[in-house]
Amino acid sequence: MLIFERSHEGRSNTAQILRNDVEVTDIPAGLRRKQRAVLPAVSELQAVRHYTGLSQKNFSIDTHFYPLGSCTMKYNPRGSNKYAMLPGFLARHPHAPEQMSQGFLASMYDLQEMLKDVTGMKEVSLAPMAGAQGEFAGMAMIRAYHDSRGDDARSEVLVPDAAHGTNPATAVMCGYKVKEIPTDAQGDVDLEALKQAVGPQTAGIMLTNPSTLGVFERRITEIARIVHEAGGLLYYDGANLNAILGKVKPGDMGFDVIHMNLHKTFSTPHGGGGPGAGPVGVSERLIPFLPIPMVAKEGDKYRFLTEKDRPQSMGRLSAFAGNAGILLRAYIYARMLGREGMIRVSEYSTLNANYMMARLKQEGFHMAYPERRATHEFILTLKKEAKETGVIAMDYAKRLLDFGHHAPTTYFPLLVPECLLIEPTETEDMETLDSFVETMVKIRAEADADPDMVKGAPYTLPVKRLDDVKAARELNLKWSPDTE
């Protein structure tokens, strides 16, 4: 139900405090509305109930297991929230002078330093406000670097076919043509194809390591050598950083630029559209091009670095300094973990994934790469089950909702048919992992006995099976009073 459907004409929703109606005289006549804005006419309590009700119908990490592969839906510690909400942070105006913002700036400086330390990059900028913006900043820096050397004939970016869809989109946004590199049968980048693809036209390669196939790219140093020898740079998509945090550093693998998703790896609230944070880290040669503002420490004082300090910067990505509230949460999370804690993150996220994979294998499910050890996520393929019963991966996903588990990522990566990409994260306990495995076994038994029942799921949720084909073909996101 839309809030507009609760609306009654003529009902007003003023604040509880009495207030005199004020005659508006100081807005020029030409700028005033001719008609009242179309707003729902509900009481304050009705509005509260409406949105609270909607939030209760939702799946969230606070209410359900959420093994959405490639998204790192881990627990968002209440501690991060609590300390980011200290009045000094919360009430700080973005235009407050630097001498009155030393605590905030110190936190941002420390976060830059911790991210440098854990990724092995030379400098970090916190400016990008989401993963996609981080990617854009990263590729823009690669372009700025080549341009600064007069090396402007490089027109191509290499992207493995297992990459996130955002990678080719980013390359195109930065004016590059995308060349796809195939994956071999073991899930690694096809080195022969890579050797043939590189050349004087290569601006760089965008890689996710571990890859979206749930395996580690084993020959990363060789890939780095091939691309560097051709004069290209290496871009690291930090989507899967949770698997290697504190264990291996992208800087050591030879990457020139990396973006991190703090809303994944550093446990800031995630979903519902964000806000996110996508800091970028670079190798020595890209430092001049980092997005601003960044925070510098001079003696015991902190200050913003601006255009004056970094004339070659790829620019600003927001009016102020990124998503400050989210960066603070990530800072507190990183401080709570420390260097040792970060190692535990990757150890337990990979242990949980491998445990689940082993249990599902024991139960007779098929893995896309059964010989490979899982990273922090793994891919299960229901190709055989789909062939036998007609119950496809999407049906399993919908039925999982009935049992109180958010579905894993479905049909991604596209290289694997009928797949579920499962990422439990390090914050789940063993009982929850076992319960998911048992549920999968139960659904398979249901699919054998009564496939039509499973194909009709979900049954227990506020909305039943949605017609996603109709929704995509006849997309309509707009409500207007005339719709009724």
Binding site: K383, Y411, F412, L414, P417, D468, V469, A472, R473
Partner: protein, 130 residues
């Protein structure tokens, strides 16, 4: 098993090519490809007059599962794109080899047709992938 007509040529990337015998070819995606992708929700075809080289991405098919590029199997000039698909993308699902055709090309080099797969070779490829 999906439908693989014997009078067509095929590519590794799951396009089919029909030799119209007048120096033009018709191109679409195979029944196997539409089956893998599932219900189509959006199709974009190249405009007439566009010069394509073999292997160039020139069209897009989007289903509820994924968006996928379509590559030109041979080089040539586009003489017609199937505009009907914009309003009825589902035709690619229901009639991949007929009304679901995507574009027609005037061949630059008819010799390129010899490099494409025949139905038997394509069936083998599909079998090896499944």
């Amino acid at each position: 098993m999906s439908n693989v007509p014997t009078d067509l040529k095929y590519t590794k990337s799951h396009e089919w090519v029909k030799d119209n015998g007048d120096g033009t070819v018709t191109v679409g995606v195979t029944d196997h490809a539409q089956e893998l992708l599932g219900d189509m929700v959006f199709v974009e075809v190249p405009e007439s007059g566009r010069e394509l080289s073999a292997g160039e991405d020139c069209a897009v098919v989007e289903s509820v599962k994924a968006a996928s590029d379509v590559y030109s199997p041979v080089s040539g000039e586009v003489v017609e794109g199937n505009e009907e698909l914009a309003d009825a993308p589902e035709t690619v699902n229901s009639d991949a080899y007929g009304e679901g055709w995507m574009f027609k090309l005037k061949l630059a080099d008819s010799g390129e047709l010899g490099g494409l797969m025949d139905a038997a070779a394509y069936e083998e490829l599909v079998a090896s992938e499944s």
